[in-house]
Symmetry: C3
Subunit: 169 residues, 3 copies
């Protein structure tokens, strides 16, 4: 069975760095699938900083919506694929009013079929108080469902806090 | 010593499903004590969906306030009792301006005296940033105190993230 | 190598009590460095309650800004030093428009040089949904960076939920 690793954590928990380190420990070409879309200066600055942090071993693909198709295309010739992150992808889907459930199942299938190791980064967002507005509550619910589905599919799940991994699976 | 299990987790973490699975692994009649009150369509829909998910082995009792008394009455003839969830119960108490401290200690006593295994579900809500309004901060503080008191009483505590359990006790 | 312990947790998770218990298990005089500043009645009440909870073995120092210098001065004659908490300290720095990065590195150096055991308490604040306002997002990011830096320096890291420790390092 090919390795699939879900890296779960909070904001600034070090989850992306941990995920990158795990991918870089593997052989071959590395493909980074970025789901972030830059809507403002704050996001643009984050995207550029993250890209600068990665070295020349990485090829970057930007894909806000079709993760399943992009993984299928990218994984043929890659040593490993890293998707960062599922939470922004979910946000993209919901803002575009695309139903997340079918996309999540397509993603789980793509992970199962991925011929090379795949690492996926996702945020845990459900451990604060109930948000005031209904959209934030809906997002929190969908993010929890997404994490459960991908965690059930993954062969390994790590929870990151303060840069340190804790194995959940 | 009879088993008492506290299942702690975030929103959509899979904590209710995990708690149900643990209760269903036990013998005898199963009693589900629901603390949710339906104030709007969103809540009504959640309650109905959760009830539909449970099978015919379950008897459902709805009790928004008197958990200690309901546990004492229900546990006499039950194979196991499941309480879902303590966070909504705390919310009910605070909205009704009933002091949570005495009720929490009565609950801890009822758990200690419960003649059958008991599983309790609760939310961890203290891992986001400090809420803007004082009521949300007070709720967060009370929820933390409640979780500490019940965790100290429980014989087992599991933290659930992305559907996966992590044993705390 | 001298012990340095980072105790990470949510609001009302029992992290301060756990940290105190670990410090009190050590020999000698205990120094408590409080970073809280009382801006309102709610904070004043918390500070007084926490101080009343500590026994006569403790000397309390209040220092909202210069943690590195205070640790260096206090640790010479102490059996152990406890800093509670780093999150309020970060908040103090940001409200005073002092850059947190240099202060964080000075703190990490002070921990490395501390001649006695040191215990530091910090909040995990990044596991809720993305805050609405930019200041809260910036604080959450800085808090995550701070926790990563101190966790990398610490010889032991414990995550506390419902009063129960989970070892991260």
């Amino acid at each position: 069975m090919t390795t699939s690793l879900l890296v779960l954590g909070g904001a600034r928990s070090g989850k992306s760095r941990y995920a990158q380190g795990r991918a870089e420990a593997l052989a071959g070409n590395l493909v980074y699938i970025a789901t972030a879309q830059a809507f403002d200066a704050e996001m643009t600055e984050r995207i550029v900083r993250h890209r600068d942090d990665r070295g020349p071993r990485w090829t970057t693909l930007e894909e806000p919506f079709d993760l399943a198709g992009t993984i299928a295309r990218a994984s043929d010739s890659a040593g490993a694929v890293l998707v960062d992150c599922l939470t922004l992808w979910l946000s993209n889907l919901m803002l575009a009013q695309m139903p997340p459930e079918a996309a999540t199942h397509a993603l789980a299938d793509a992970i199962a079929r991925c011929p090379c190791p795949i690492v996926l980064v996702s945020n845990e967002v459900g451990l604060g108080i109930v948000p005031d507005n209904a959209l934030a509550r809906a997002f929190r619910d969908e993010a929890g469902r997404l994490n459960q589905t991908i965690a059930a599919q993954a062969t390994e799940v790590q929870f990151i806090a303060a840069g340190l991994p804790l194995r959940l699976k």
